[in-house]
């Protein structure tokens, strides 16, 4: 179990670097998590992150295709924002669990 510290608050991560408590997420946490991925977050990034968090809290299964149809960004654009494994990386930075593209 790993921990990061953001503005004096200790945030717990699981062995794959995902937040164990999604409620601890805020913009500062996102910026810190993005650093690990070498991504500098822009407004567009945050639009995607908020979309993921909304869909996640609505209990929906997330896929790259769904983000691509969101109207925020197309799939190509998503890859540009979060290069290499865009859904996994954006989910991690959005503070939600690893997407379980179900069997």
């Amino acid at each position: 179990m790993e921990k990061i510290e953001v503005k004096g608050i200790s945030i717990e991560l699981n062995e794959e670097g995902f937040l164990t408590d999604s409620a601890q997420w805020n913009n500062d946490v996102a910026l810190e998590l993005a650093k690990v991925e070498d991504i500098e977050l822009t407004e567009k990034h945050f639009d995607v992150l908020n979309f993921l968090r909304d869909k996640h809290s609505a209990g929906e299964t997330l896929t790259i295709r769904k983000v691509g149809k969101s109207g925020i960004v197309d799939i190509k654009g998503l890859y540009d924002l979060f290069p290499g494994g865009p859904l996994k990386k954006s989910s991690r930075i959005a503070g939600i669990p690893k997407p379980t593209s179900c069997v």
Partner: protein, 411 residues
């Protein structure tokens, strides 16, 4: 007289028609089942067609062989469901009213979703084996193929029978070994997932198996398009995989009818309570089989196990009692691995596939996550069980809920 309507007469719909006719009084309930096709396909058998093990006649029977007496059968395309008014519109503008509805319209492959897939190489160098036409075209192609790059690719998650592509490459390894040209066939497995399968322990076992068979896994490859000129798969992050023969699992989607009804998600799967199997939008609509969005495999075994739970809940609902039966996501899949052997996985929402043994009275035990001959016979025998027991909704010696008996807990 109350009306029970079942949309879709595949594995799930046919089983429910049989179970419901036994459970509901003929004086109180009229049961109607609707499907656009008259042929029932034994879909697990499609996998064997490209390798000449099965042919078309081995996997088809008339749907009417499997409906019980006392069920009305309508062969028609379905246009849409009007959930507010409890009506279903058929394509010939006929309207069916219902008191209770089951959606069992399954999934279909949609090659049109991937640019360049259904183009000039389609059924020449590019094939699917999720349709009988594709499987037969591939059988013809393989018969005279002299080797090259064979690529098995998955376009999108989720898709029907998630182990089938793994079985396909294992059988291809066996087939081209028998044909004496395995050294001329380079086999790759391209997947959007991080590994050969979704769950860690099974992925480890299956990765080792594929490695032993000299099959290369190319993970995290999300297909953008197929280039018909250069014969390459192109991903969104510009990786390229060249092929001489491409077998693909196209994007899987629920029926168009679901979209027309405003009942589906972005892939036309119906949002469904994963325990009770009730649709989230209308309380008298239930969903069985591949058509739902429940987070487990899209597979016949899931439809079978959940059918027993659904029947219990339907009876409770009709009689005004709370729905107590809860589906646990139980799936059970034989994995044909070539050379007369097979593996078996058994899992649910919470428990990933584990090694150990799977008890089956009178026949088993089968080895879980082990590559054995008895598992292969289990798969071969299953076709008979499917036609004679499963579709007719008869009792099977397997509990709907997953059991930990025989499984070895791993850290």
């Amino acid at each position: 007289m109350k009306r029970f309507l079942i949309l879709g007469a595949g594995t799930a719909g046919t089983m429910m028609a049989n179970k419901l006719r036994k459970s509901l009084s003929v004086d109180e309930w009229e049961i109607t089942i609707v499907d656009q096709h008259k042929t029932h396909y034994y879909q697990p058998g499609f996998l064997f067609i490209p390798f000449g093990i099965y042919n078309k006649q081995d996997v088809i029977k008339p749907k009417t062989d499997f409906f019980p007496p006392g069920v009305n059968v309508v062969f028609s395309e379905i246009d849409r469901i009007d959930g507010e008014n409890n009506q279903v519109f058929l394509n010939d503008s006929k309207v069916l009213s219902y008191d209770m509805l089951i959606i069992a319209t399954g999934v279909r492959t949609v090659p049109e979703e991937t640019p360049g897939l259904k183009d000039k190489l389609w059924y020449k160098n590019i094939f699917d084996f999720y349709t009988v036409e594709g499987a037969i075209a591939l059988q013809k192609f393989f018969k005279s193929w002299e080797g090259g790059k064979l690529v098995m690719a998955i376009a999108e998650m989720p898709f029907k029978c998630p182990v089938a592509p793994i079985e396909f490459v294992c059988l291809a390894d066996w087939y081209f070994t028998q044909a004496g040209i395995r050294d001329k066939v380079d086999i790759s497995f391209v997947t959007p997932l991080p590994g050969a399968f979704t769950k860690p322990i099974a992925t480890k076992m299956l990765s080792t198996l594929l490695e032993e068979k000299n099959i290369k896994v190319i993970p995290e490859f999300y297909i953008q398009n197929v280039d018909n000129e250069t014969k390459e798969l192109v991903s969104y992050d510009n990786q390229k995989v060249p092929f001489d023969a491409l077998t693909i699992v196209p994007v899987n989607m629920g029926a168009d009818m679901i979209e027309n009804s405003g009942l589906g998600d972005d892939l036309n799967f119906v949002p469904t309570d994963k325990e009770t199997l009730q649709s989230k939008q209308f309380e008298n609509i239930f969903v069985l089989g591949d058509a739902s969005n429940i987070p487990t495999s899209k597979a016949g075994s899931v439809a079978h196990f959940s059918a027993e739970i659904l029947l219990e809940n339907l009876m409770s609902y009709i009689e005004g009692r709370p729905m107590m039966a809860k589906f646990d996501g139980h799936a059970n899949c034989y994995i044909e691995t070539g050379f007369g052997k097979g593996a078996l996985i058994d899992f649910n929402y919470d428990t990933e596939p584990l090694p150990g043994t799977f008890p089956l009275p009178g026949i088993g035990p089968f080895g879980l996550l082990k590559n054995t001959k008895i598992n292969h016979y289990g798969k071969i025998m299953f076709r008979w069980i499917y036609w004679h027991i499963l579709l007719k909704g008869k009792e099977m010696p397997i509990e709907p809920h997953m059991t930990m008996a025989g499984k070895v807990k791993m850290k």
